[in-house]
């Protein structure tokens, strides 16, 4: 099936459901500390299923919608080539091995969790993992740090969830429309 895509600059490559599954299975196995860079390498550099620009568009949609970003990427890429079956094959391929590994790890961990060295190691990893999240927030703030209203929205979201512990649905129902309204009024 070769069809032109809206906005595409070349015909759609021929990609089977099985190829989607195995390609994302490998991506799932390679990702330590973030799977997205490996997904980009496979899709753009290795298999050439997407151009760089197409990948950025897929990624920006994935980040804009709720849900795990990488799962959204698999859904969009799978849909593009093979519809519903492609989406399911790609996302199952991605999650299968990491899920098996983490459950195996959790089962082993449960056996040794009470050992003092393991408890200590867990405390260390937890503390560092919290630090990774904080650092990630700072890095993500780079594109918005020169825009006062965006800083204001970020601070409001932080205070509401982190300090005031307002339930997430309420925060989103108030903040998202407010933020969209400001962005819309300030559009060029």
């Amino acid at each position: 099936m070769t069809a032109a895509r809206p906005g595409g600059d070349r015909p759609l490559p021929e990609v089977t459901t099985g190829a989607l599954f195995t390609a994302f299975l490998k991506v799932g196995l390679s990702g330590f500390g973030g799977v997205l860079p490996f997904a980009r390498r496979m899709l753009v550099d290795q298999r050439r299923w997407l151009t760089e620009r197409e990948f950025i568009e897929v990624l920006s949609l994935s980040q804009f919608l709720p849900g795990p970003n990488i799962v959204n990427v698999t859904v969009i890429v799978g849909r593009r080539f093979r519809g519903v079956a492609g989406s399911i094959a790609a996302s199952l391929g991605l999650m299968l091995m990491p899920l098996l590994i983490v459950l195996l790890l959790a089962t082993v961990y449960a056996q040794v969790a009470q050992h003092p060295a393991v408890r200590g190691a867990t405390a260390g990893v937890s503390a560092a993992a919290a630090g990774l999240l904080l650092a990630m927030a700072v890095k993500m703030a780079t594109p918005i740090r020169r825009t006062p209203w965006q800083i204001g929205i970020a601070v409001l979201a932080f205070v509401a969830i982190g300090i005031a512990r307002v339930p997430l649905p309420l925060v989103l129902v108030v903040l998202v429309p407010l933020s969209v309204a400001i962005a819309w009024r300030r559009r060029p």
Partner: protein, 175 residues
């Protein structure tokens, strides 16, 4: 007979799926509140352990959801949690993908992107803050968290090296 915990897990994560702007990390405080305070699936300590495990394992960070399900209701809980977390958002993504491509340069699309970016930043920052409060029980732990922030921002060190160093320090009884 389906266990009540499985139904709770399914309902909670199907709701969170559609609220998780910015991915699984952005909803960590909400997951913590529901898993520990509302449903009593686990203690604070269990939650931090599952978070640490999810960070130490390969794969996407949404795996924390499967570990919460696992702790609450075993392997079935893990699978239900993962399916519930990915299902609704995936269906939405599938439906929206086509329209999104058509409106590539629409002003509203650009406004929505600019509007959601700071919300996500605030949510991730809140997640880091809440996790720090839950995970850090000693002043040494706060030092580990602070050092991690500085190393992540000033060096190109792979996160796995930082986690490994923190694990070693902890195993040696320093944290």
């Amino acid at each position: 007979m389906i266990s009540p915990a499985l139904v709770e897990i399914a309902v909670e994560f199907m709701i969170l799926s559609l609220l998780s702007f910015g991915g699984a990390n952005a909803i960590l405080p909400e997951i913590h509140q529901r898993a520990v305070d509302v449903h009593h699936w686990m203690t604070d300590a269990d939650f931090t352990q599952m978070f640490a495990l999810s960070q130490a394992a390969p794969g996407p960070n949404v795996l924390i959801v499967s570990l919460i399900g696992w702790k609450a209701a075993g392997v079935a809980g893990a699978l239900v949690a993962m399916a519930a977390m990915c299902g609704p958002s995936s269906i939405l993504t599938y439906g929206v993908a086509h329209a999104w491509e058509r409106f590539r340069d629409a002003p509203l699309r650009i406004a929505i992107q600019q509007a959601l970016a700071p919300v996500t930043v605030g949510l991730i920052l809140a997640a880091g803050y809440v996790l720090t409060l839950i995970a850090d029980k000693t002043w040494q732990a706060f030092i580990v968290t602070g050092t991690t922030v500085v190393l992540s921002l000033t060096t190109r060190a792979h996160p796995l090296w930082i986690l490994g160093a923190a694990a070693a320090a902890g195993a040696a009884g320093l944290v």
